[in-house]
């Protein structure tokens, strides 16, 4: 019998014992993952909202009235070649007026009164590449556009962009912190369970050590137990979360976790389970054998 075959047999033997306490652990880990998933679901939807807001940030460059329409379009072409620019849209004087009338019909009369003395300026609307939609990127690009000949003013959401950027940054930090806290809690739940399992199987651990089983051979079944518990707990938690999400969809519109995050949660379950098991069994203590091995 090869060592791997023996290990597989030992692991199956190990997992096949104590179905009652294993079920309790599975429920505990699943519930912990429901909390984790709820947190992830809320934060992911909020993050999407904030991200959408950031992506809608654009620079509007007003052009000098002296520029002809073809000069304005040339300028737009020039801006479209700049770093960080995703797309450029040239708004002519006529289109600007049409837009004004369509968007602010109550002010339409004002425009009629001023016609002849004042015309809305032509402009270039610049949307940004991902990665440039932060305060620093927008500010530097706006300054570069403002420096071009024929541009009178380049504006962006100066009044709200800094706040939005800070909020997104703080939110991401909070996300990482709370995510870590929840992952550690789950690992500790698994660790506690594996420790109980190790105590219940202390005779087996002791005998394995006495007959010369290497540390990894003794620990592997516990790590397999922890990993499987984590994986099953994560899947169970996702299932419960999906049902809850479906039930709440009518009241609060939101999207469920995308496949990328779904599988991340499953992998996280396996990883926290494995880490918990290693913490629970405390490698190094097994090598001594005897009554003090765990």
């Amino acid at each position: 019998m090869s060592l791997w075959k023996a290990l597989g047999r030992e692991t199956l033997n190990h997992i096949g014992t104590r179905p009652g306490s294993r079920a309790v652990t599975l429920v505990m880990v699943s519930l912990a993952f429901v909390v984790f998933n709820t947190f992830l679901l809320v934060s992911w939807n909020l993050e999407r909202l904030l991200q959408r807001e950031l992506q809608s940030v654009r620079i509007e460059a007003f052009l000098s009235p002296e520029l002809t329409q073809s000069e304005g379009r040339s300028l737009a072409d020039l801006v479209s070649t700049m770093n960080g620019v995703r797309s450029v849209y040239y708004v002519s004087v006529f289109e600007a007026e049409a837009l004004f009338r369509a968007e602010m019909p109550e002010q339409e009369r004002l425009l009629d009164l001023l016609s002849g003395q004042f015309r809305l300026p032509a402009s270039i609307q610049v949307s940004l590449e991902p990665g440039w939609d932060n305060e620093t990127g927008v500010r530097s690009l706006a300054a570069a556009i403002q420096g071009l000949e024929g541009v009178t003013e380049a504006v962006f959401g100066e009044e709200y962009l800094p706040g939005l950027s800070k909020t997104v940054s703080a939110f991401r930090k909070l996300l990482v912190f709370l995510g870590t806290v929840l992952a550690v809690s789950i690992a500790l739940v698994v660790a506690y369970t594996v420790r109980l399992s190790a105590l219940q199987r202390s005779l087996t651990v002791e005998i394995m050590s006495i007959v010369g089983a290497p540390d990894w051979f003794i620990i592997a079944p516990f790590v397999a137990e922890g990993t499987l518990t984590g994986l099953a707990g994560a899947l169970g938690g996702l299932l419960i979360s999906a049902v809850l999400s479906g039930m709440l969809q009518g009241a609060v519109g939101h999207s469920f976790l995308p496949p990328r995050l779904f599988w991340t949660v499953v992998l996280l379950g396996g990883a926290t389970g494995a880490v918990g098991a290693v913490l629970g069994i405390r490698p190094g203590k097994t090598s001594r054998g005897g009554n003090n091995q765990i």
Binding site: L203, T204, I207, G212, S287
Partner: protein, 228 residues
């Protein structure tokens, strides 16, 4: 020397279990360590299989020295030592065959080699008909013979027996002792701890007396009686 203990002391709290013990055991030797309960016999054996380490001095067994042990060394050392306990320490959910096979399985022996060795040992111990039984279905004497078979499975250099007859009736004890003597005649060094050395036939072993953690030599168990 197969086992070399030099000035080894071990205390548990303020209680000295072993005090400056020095002992040498050669290959193929049979050593009986006797002494009253709490004398330190089990501690001495634990130091030999390095289930515990000395506070002072050192223990060297089959080339492994207690003050130079790395984690991976423990498993390597244990494969050179077979251990028999008073309470048998068999895995209750495994058959006799699986219990005896354990040391071979964890060292990665092939299935064929495992079967061959286990069947041979079970035949030697008169347990062939019990190979599919669980430990709780066996008598104390049978369980102890399973434990001896397990201890011998990986062809150890040393067999440690900690009160192997402590839970057995006289007939089963005699049979276990005879097995230990036969094993020793086969070339395996045996170190046996017992509170009752009279079961060992004179001339078949070296006798040591341990009391209050201190070790003294004796020629036979009769000498031990006089020492007491």
């Amino acid at each position: 020397m197969l086992i070399e203990i030099e000035g080894a002391s071990r205390s548990y709290g303020r209680w000295p279990a072993l005090d400056q013990v020095t002992l040498q055991v050669a290959e193929g030797e049979f050593v009986v360590v006797s002494g009253p309960s709490g004398a330190g016999k089990t501690t001495l054996l634990r130091l030999i299989w390095m289930g515990d380490m000395p506070d002072r001095g050192f223990v060297q067994v089959a080339g492994f020295r207690s003050d130079m042990m790395k984690r991976s060394h423990f498993a390597m050392l244990r494969r050179k030592i077979g251990i028999v306990f008073q309470d048998f320490r068999l895995l209750p959910d495994r058959t006799v065959f699986d219990n005896v096979a354990l040391p071979l399985v964890v060292s990665g022996a092939s299935g064929r080699a495992v079967r061959k060795r286990v069947f041979s040992l079970l035949a030697l111990m008169g347990l062939s008909h019990r190979r599919n039984s669980l430990p709780h279905q066996l008598s104390g004497g049978e369980q102890q013979r399973v434990a001896i078979a397990r201890a011998m499975a990986a062809h150890p250099l040393i067999l440690l027996a900690d009160e192997p007859t402590g839970n057995l009736d006289p007939e089963a004890s005699a049979r276990v002792i005879q097995h230990l003597i036969d094993i020793n005649r086969g070339g395996t060094a045996v170190v046996m701890a017992t509170h009752d050395p009279r079961r060992i036939p004179p001339g078949s072993a070296r006798f040591l007396f341990l009391d209050g953690g201190r070790l003294t030599n004796a020629e036979s168990w009769q000498d031990l009686e006089e020492t007491r």
